[in-house]
C-alpha cells in the first residue's frame, strides 16, 4: 500500500543540536492527520523537511509516492506556513494570482479559482485591498486560500488557527471537513488540542523529534477509557494478550496502562489477568480527553 506521507528515520541535526531524532510515520490517503507535541519537539522542522525547505541529515521520506523534492508532486501540495508573512504590498487578488502562477495554473482557471476561494474564506469584499491593511485573522484566511489554490491532494497546515477568533476557527474546521469529504489528505500541526480532537482521524504524539505514539481518535471519541492497573507477575505474553480489550498496553514497573473502548470490558479483563496468574492490586479507570492523552504520553515537562 502506498501512503500519502511515509517517513523512515528522518533526522535533522543543526550542528550538535538534534532537532528531529528519527521520525518514522505513515499517513494514509484521505486521512486528516494531527501532529502533536510540546514546543521544541521538532514539529516545524519535520514539516520543513517534508516540504523541501530544510534538507534532512539522514533518513528518507515520500510524499504521494515520490521522494522528497520531486517538483511534479509539489504541484499537488498545499502549504500554510507557521507565522507566515507574505508580500504585504500585494493586494489579495495579486497575491493569489502570484501563487497560482507559481503553481503553473492557466489564467482562466486561476481567475475562477481565486473568486471561489475568496468567497470560501470570506475575503471577497477585500480582494483589492493590500495585505498590509489586513488583520492577523484575515492574513491567516488568505494564507489558507493560498494553500488550496491548486486543489491539492495533500495539504500541510502549520498552526492554521493561531490568531483566529472563534468564528475563524469554525471556518478552518469547516474547510478541513470539506477537504476530507473530497478525499484530500490533511497534515495538521496544531497546539489547540480541542481543534485536533474534532478534526483529525489519527494523531501522532512526538517529542524530541521521535514519534512516541500514534492514536486513533475515533476510539477516543467513542468514549475511550484509560485504565491503569497495579499488578505483579505480568509476563510479556499476558501483556500482549491484553490487546484483545484495549489499545497499546504498556508496562512501567508494576503499572500497566492501556486505553479500552468501553468500561464494560473491565470485568472480563480482570478475569483474564487472574486466569493468567497475575496478582492484581488495583484498578483505576478514567475517561480520557485528548489533553489527558497528551499529558500521559508526552509528560508534563513540556519536552524540556
Amino acid at each position: 500500500m502506498t501512503y500519502a506521507i511515509e517517513t523512515d528515520q528522518l533526522r535533522k541535526a543543526f550542528g550538535d543540536n538534534v532537532a528531529v531524532r528519527g521520525l518514522t510515520l505513515q499517513v494514509a490517503h484521505g486521512e486528516v492527520f494531527g501532529f502533536l507535541g510540546p514546543n521544541g519537539a521538532g514539529k516545524t522542522t519535520s514539516l520543513k523537511m517534508l516540504l523541501g525547505l530544510v534538507a534532512p541529515t539522514s533518513g528518507s521520506a515520500t510524499l504521494l509516492g515520490a521522494p522528497l523534492g520531486d517538483r511534479a508532486v509539489r504541484a499537488e501540495i498545499g502549504f500554510l506556513p507557521e507565522h507566515f508573512r507574505f508580500h504585504d504590498w500585494l493586494t489579495a487578488q495579486e497575491f493569489l494570482t502570484l501563487h497560482g502562477r507559481l503553481y503553473r495554473m492557466d489564467a482562466s482557471r486561476l481567475r475562477g479559482r481565486i473568486s471561489e476561494l475568496l468567497d470560501l474564506v470570506g475575503l471577497a469584499p477585500f480582494r483589492d485591498k493590500r495585505l498590509r491593511t489586513f488583520s492577523k485573522g484575515m492574513l491567516q484566511r488568505i494564507g489558507l486560500a493560498q494553500a488550496l489554490l491548486n486543489n491539492p491532494r495533500l495539504v500541510f497546515l502549520d498552526e492554521p488557527t493561531s490568531g483566529l477568533d472563534p468564528v475563524g476557527r469554525r471556518l478552518v474546521r469547516d474547510i478541513i471537513h470539506g477537504l476530507r469529504e473530497r478525499g484530500t489528505t490533511v497534515f495538521l500541526n496544531s497546539h489547540l488540542l480541542s481543534e485536533v480532537e474534532v478534526t483529525c482521524d489519527r494523531v501522532a504524539f512526538i517529542k524530541h523529534g521521535e514519534v512516541l505514539r500514534v492514536s486513533d481518535l475515533k476510539v477516543l471519541a467513542a468514549g475511550a477509557t484509560g485504565v491503569t492497573l497495579r499488578v505483579r507477575g505480568m509476563t510479556p505474553e499476558t501483556l500482549v494478550g491484553l490487546s484483545r480489550w484495549g489499545q497499546e498496553p504498556r508496562i512501567d514497573g508494576d503499572r500497566v496502562s492501556l486505553s479500552i473502548r468501553d468500561e464494560a470490558a473491565l470485568p472480563a479483563l480482570t478475569r483474564y489477568l487472574v486466569g493468567q496468574n497475575v496478582d492484581v492490586y488495583g484498578i483505576a479507570a478514567q475517561r480520557l480527553s485528548l489533553e489527558d492523552l497528551f499529558i500521559q504520553i508526552v509528560g508534563t515537562d513540556g519536552g524540556l
Binding site: 520543513k48 516540504l51 523541501g52 509539489r74 508573512r85 508580500h87 502570484l98 507559481l102
Partner: protein, 284 residues
C-alpha cells in the same frame, strides 16, 4: 517560466515600496543640479579661455568632455549605490521574514527564484542607468552640442559594473543578514574604488607598485576597473592626450585591458553560479 514571475514580482516590489519613486526624484534633482553646474561652468570659463581660435577651442572641448565624464562618474556611483541598496534585502529579507517559504514549496526550482530576482533587479537598474546617464549625456549635448564618443560601449561597461555589484550583493544576501550584506558589498566596493584610484595615480607617477596594487584589488572586486575602461572609451582622443591637468581627474590614465573586461564578465557569471548553488542548498 517561473523566473519571469519572480522577476515581475521583484520589479513590482521596488515600485510598490517606493524605491523607484525615491530614486527617480533624487535622480531628477541630480540632473537639474548637473545641468545648472554645466551651464554656469561653460559660461564663466569662456572669458578666461586662452586667446586664439585653435587653443580656445581645445580648452573648451577639454572642459566640456571633462565635465561630462565627471557627471557620468557621479551617475556610475549613484547606480552602484542603488544596486547595493535595492539588492541587499532581496534574499536575506525574504528568508528572515519567512515569505520565502511559501515560494520555495511551490513547484519551481530554487535557481528560478534567484534568476528571477536577478532579472528583475537587472531590469530596474538598467532603466535607472539609462535615465541618469542618458539624462547627463542629453544635458551635455543640449548645452554645448557635445556628443559623447562610444556612448553605447561606455554605457554597456557601466551597466556591466552595476550588474557585477548587484550580483555580489545578491551573493552576500543569500548567506548573510541584510545589514551584513550592505556592509560587505559597500566595503568591497570601497576596496575596489580605492584600488582603482591607487592604480590611476600610480600611472601618473609611473609607480609600478601602485599599478600592481590597483590590479590586485580589481581582481578581488573588479567593479571600479570597469569604470576606468568606460571613461577611457567615452573620452575624446584629444582630451585623453591632454592628460589630467586640463581635463580633470576623472579621465583615465591607466587603462584596464580588454582581458580585464573579460575577467569581469567571467567574475559575474561565477558569482551568479555561486548564488544559485548557495541558495539551492541552504536550509530556509
Amino acid at each position: 517560466m517561473a523566473a519571469f514571475v519572480i522577476a515581475r514580482l521583484t520589479f513590482l516590489e521596488a515600485v510598490r515600496r517606493r524605491i523607484v519613486l525615491a530614486a527617480a526624484l533624487l535622480g531628477l534633482a541630480f540632473l537639474i543640479l548637473y545641468a545648472t553646474g554645466f551651464y554656469f561652468a561653460q559660461r564663466d570659463i569662456a572669458p578666461i579661455a586662452p586667446e586664439g581660435p585653435g587653443l580656445g577651442m581645445l580648452y573648451r572641448s577639454g572642459l566640456v568632455s571633462g565635465f561630462t565624464i565627471m557627471g557620468l562618474y557621479a551617475v556610475n556611483f549613484l547606480a552602484i549605490a542603488m544596486a547595493v541598496l535595492a539588492t541587499a534585502d532581496t534574499l536575506s529579507g525574504e528568508i528572515g521574514s519567512g515569505t520565502i517559504q511559501a515560494l520555495v514549496s511551490k513547484p519551481l526550482r530554487r535557481s528560478e527564484i534567484v534568476l528571477g530576482k536577478w532579472l528583475g533587479l537587472a531590469e530596474l537598474l538598467g532603466l535607472y542607468l539609462l535615465l541618469m546617464a542618458g539624462g547627463a549625456m542629453l544635458i551635455a549635448y543640449l548645452l554645448s552640442g557635445y556628443v559623447v564618443p562610444n556612448a553605447f560601449i561606455g554605457l554597456g561597461l557601466i551597466y556591466l559594473e552595476v550588474l557585477l555589484v548587484m550580483t555580489v550583493t545578491l551573493a552576500c544576501s543569500s548567506t548573510l543578514s541584510t545589514l551584513a550584506t550592505g556592509g560587505v558589498a559597500l566595503g568591497l566596493f570601497g576596496l575596489a574604488f580605492l584600488g582603482g584610484w591607487v592604480e590611476q595615480f600610480g600611472a601618473l607617477a609611473h609607480s609600478q607598485t601602485a599599478i600592481n596594487l590597483g590590479i590586485i584589488s580589481s581582481l578581488i572586486m573588479p567593479s571600479e576597473a570597469i569604470w576606468h575602461r568606460a571613461s577611457y572609451e567615452m573620452t575624446p582622443a584629444l582630451a585623453r592626450s591632454m592628460g589630467i591637468d586640463m581635463a580633470g581627474p576623472f579621465i583615465t590614465t591607466s587603462v584596464p585591458s580588454l582581458l580585464m573586461v573579460a575577467y569581469r564578465f567571467l567574475f559575474l557569471i561565477a558569482m551568479l553560479v555561486f548564488v544559485v548553488h548557495r541558495f539551492s542548498h541552504r536550509d530556509l
